[in-house]
């Protein structure tokens, strides 16, 4: 093993997470290589220092405080967006809505996972077929629906994993539609990630480019929602944002199944075109178990 490879394993070595053989190799290497043992020593010293942040014992009265709050029927903070209107809206969505949203996600996961695992040449053929058959528009709508799902699921804590999956689907789908769109969607998601870690200026640079892109970027209307997510709270009146109004329209709230139908219908259309390719694509996933999400499950169990 070369030094670079050994140094990459040093932390796992310290943590006792290496298998016997690798452990032996690293140990031997450390005995022979001064550069690596200096690095090893540096890490050990840093970790030794980190021990200086001691744990504290359970504060007195903690258990009683929890019990009191529980007895009062206090609820934990339910959602992550501290926006009054959204809280109202999220509470208004029937528990089933979350199941439906999850079902939508799973349905689209199935379809798009297929796309993700296609061999390259099949993807390209699929992309061409899509263009020829006018499926592109439908695929772009699915891309948009995925973005809506991300926004909806993003209002509630605990859906990060589903959102990440939906993002991966978007990238796969966009890539299959055309590489330029794939690139733009990847950029967009980079901006989302930058916002999530507070690097707003960098995100803004990307979003600005995407907004003025030519031909127009298909998710352009959502750039605004993404920007909103980065803004400090007070000045934004979420319910007055046109896209939120559309997304959270009384019809959708009253019958979230519509969203499901929408996705299902689009997926069916896609499936008609790609049936045989999908057959091939699904084979590796016959035994796939999809992740469950505590919040959704919980709602179901509470009913």
């Amino acid at each position: 093993m070369r030094c670079k490879a050994v140094q990459k394993q040093l932390v796992a070595y310290i943590d006792g997470e290496l298998d016997g053989q690798t452990r032996g190799i690293v140990k031997t290497h450390l005995g022979l290589c001064s550069a690596c043992s200096v690095e090893y020593d540096r890490m050990r010293k840093a970790l030794g220092a980190a021990r200086g942040w001691k744990s504290r014992p359970l504060p007195e009265g903690f258990t009683e405080a929890v019990e009191k709050r529980a007895e009062r029927g206090e609820q934990p903070r339910p959602i992550r967006l501290p926006v009054l209107d959204v809280r109202v809206v999220v509470d208004a969505i029937s528990p089933r809505a979350w199941q439906v949203a999850a079902a939508c996600a799973i349905l689209v996961v199935g379809l798009v996972l297929g796309r993700l695992v296609w061999p390259r040449h099949v993807v390209h053929e699929g992309g061409r077929a899509a263009a020829h058959n006018g499926v592109r528009a439908s695929a772009v709508e699915t891309l948009t629906t995925l973005q809506k799902l991300k926004v909806i699921l993003g209002m509630r804590e605990g859906n990060e994993r589903t959102i990440a999956e939906l993002s991966a689907m978007q990238r796969g789908l966009a890539d299959a539609i055309d590489p330029q769109l794939g690139g733009r969607v990847a950029l967009y998601q980079e901006a989302e990630a930058l916002i999530a870690c507070g690097r707003l200026d960098e995100a803004e640079a990307i979003l600005g480019d995407l907004e003025s892109a030519d031909p127009p970027f298909v998710l352009k209307p959502y750039v605004r929602i993404t920007r909103l997510a980065a803004q400090p709270l007070p000045p934004v009146r979420w319910r007055e944002q046109p896209l939120y109004a559309e997304l959270l329209s009384p019809e959708v709230l009253a019958s979230p199944e519509r969203l499901y139908d929408m996705v299902a219908e689009r997926s069916r259309r896609l499936a008609q075109v790609y049936t045989d390719v999908l057959d091939k694509a699904f084979r590796p996933f016959e035994n796939l178990t999809l992740p469950t999400h505590p919040q959704t499950d919980g709602r179901a169990a509470d009913e």
Binding site: K45, G52, E67, R77, R161
Partner: protein, 202 residues
């Protein structure tokens, strides 16, 4: 008397209506949950509040707990999500991260933050506080994803596999985040460590 009941046994009892089981779980995991949250958000008072909320979540969502699975990862996940919410709230509220007033060197905040615990001598106590302050700053400077893995691995002593279960990622991801975290800490803390080791040797 047999061995004490497992967390999962307690959760089953609690699901079946045994409120006392909940109290035992809070007693058993309270300190751990507070310390975990504290190291993620570097504010002990807030960490206590988040820990209370985490247990409230356990209380109100007991039905969602799958008794066939382990309790601890579930609890860590709840606390982690609450801390993520807090990070997000801070990002929205304050342009430059107010990660810690301690990092800005505010002695009043530090004094308020550091609970006096039985300490040997004033000099030792001062040294201990100084070390803690430096470590808190270094850990607080880690990007959130790396910080979470580091705290779970180093302070909570979870294996990579357990961390992967808590975070819903692969063991490989855990290993690489831990590696990056330690590499960064080595940059900021190895000098502190050298002083420490120097002191203990002399």
């Amino acid at each position: 008397m047999g061995p004490p009941p497992s967390d999962e046994d307690l959760m089953r009892a609690f699901q079946g209506g045994g409120e006392h089981a909940f109290t035992v779980l809070v007693e058993r995991h309270g300190a751990k949950v507070i310390n975990y949250a504290w190291r993620l958000i570097d504010d002990h008072a807030l960490a206590q509040d988040l820990a209370q909320q985490a247990f409230l979540a356990v209380y109100t969502r007991k039905a969602t707990f799958d008794a066939a699975r382990r309790f601890s990862p579930w609890l860590y996940r709840i606390v982690g999500n609450l801390c993520r919410m807090e990070w997000r709230r801070r990002r929205r509220k304050v342009a430059p991260l107010d990660a810690s007033s301690v990092a800005a060197g505010d002695p009043a905040a530090l004094a308020a933050e550091t609970v006096a615990d039985p300490s040997p001598s004033p000099a030792e106590e001062a040294g201990r506080r100084d070390l803690e302050r430096r470590v808190r700053r270094a850990v607080g400077e880690l990007p959130e994803k790396l910080r979470m893995v580091f705290v779970l691995s180093f302070y909570e002593a979870l294996s990579y596999k357990q961390i992967a279960e808590v975070l819903g990622c692969s063991v490989g991801t855990v290993a690489s985040r831990k590696h990056l975290a330690v590499q960064r800490l080595a940059g900021s803390l190895s000098a502190v460590g050298a002083e420490l080791f120097g002191e203990t040797k002399s």
